[in-house]
Amino acid sequence: MAIGWYLTVSAIIFAIGAIGVLVRPNPLVILLCLELMLNAANLALVAFARMWGGEAGQIFALIVMVVAACEVTVGLGLIVAIYRRQLAMDVDELSELHG
């Protein structure tokens, strides 16, 4: 398959993730949609690495995976903290930073 097909799939997945971040109210689902966007970027990186025959794209994709894992741990820690405080699981209601 031509590389353009992979890039099209990547663009579609990124757009779906962006829709999810905009539309869904639950912070847990927003984190999942962020994962979708990061994975779309990963797919584009690996496709470009295949296109040029270079290896830097794959290395960068692995680094993106590490950063996504860090984001997940911190985000899930925040969600557990929100639940412990018995606040509502809704990003519209959690719009103030002070405790």
Partner: protein
């Protein structure tokens, strides 16, 4: 053959992504994301990124998703409204997403890059294998590798600090009340053995039922049913 595999994997990935956004139960969202990640790993294999595909399945679909499942089970995966309260984003969000998809496709496919319509560079044997990637990580890309490990350690410590039970937020003796559940007589904890505070088994029932988290309990009345969260 590769075209058939590509379309199967791409349809799986896009269907998984749509299911992540559309399903109402967070537990099903996580399972849909697992399907999406595995389909994406198949796409990585088609792009000859073997190590990235393996890491995707093992680390992402394995470890990270297990973390998600644990948190969904802890928080409670109840069905919930699909949209936010203000209805403007309900219409504008998908419109914005469609515009973004079209724009990204135009930007990437409309470039003058010649390689985009080709099948990629000629394949060199060993490209993308664990040996290749590992050698690169320990020679050329050593600095990003070390920075990534440092970042992982900082994130792990940050998660522990964020999710721990804060002492100042509890009522006085809140943690002891969490320890003092029903216990047969003549059994105790190490805490009592050292003589700091005793008599855990003889505490009366209403004493610890009245204790609940003091902060924010009136903002979420559906959860304030009197149960206290146990500490770790």
């Amino acid at each position: 053959m590769s075209a058939v595999l590509f379309f199967i994997a791409a349809i799986g990935a896009i269907a998984g992504a749509i299911a992540v956004v559309m399903l109402r139960n967070p537990f099903y969202n996580v399972l849909a994301l697992v399907c999406h990640l595995i389909s994406l790993a198949a796409l990585f294999l088609l792009l000859r990124a073997e190590f990235v595909a393996a890491a995707q399945v093992v680390v992402y679909a394995g470890a990270v998703m297990v973390l998600y499942v644990f948190v969904v089970a802890y928080v409670g995966g109840a069905d919930e409204p699909l949209h936010r309260h203000g209805a403007a984003l309900k219409v504008l969000g998908p419109l914005f997403g469609a515009a973004l998809a079209v724009e990204l496709c135009i930007a990437m496919l409309g470039t003058a890059l010649k390689g985009i319509s080709s099948k990629g560079a000629p394949y060199i044997f060993g490209f993308g294998t664990p040996k290749h990637i590992g050698t690169l990580f320990l020679t050329t890309y050593l600095f990003p590798f070390e920075v990534a490990s440092l970042l992982l350690m900082v994130a792990a410590m940050g998660a522990v600090v964020l999710a721990r039970r804060r002492r100042g937020l509890d009522a006085a003796g809140g943690e002891e009340a969490a320890i003092r559940i029903h216990r047969p007589a003549y059994t105790g904890t190490m805490h009592e053995t050292t003589g700091i505070e005793g008599g855990g088994g003889t505490v009366s029932q209403p004493e610890y039922e009245n204790q609940r988290e003091p902060i924010g309990s009136q903002t979420a009345p559906q959860r304030g049913d009197g149960h206290t969260e146990g500490g770790w």
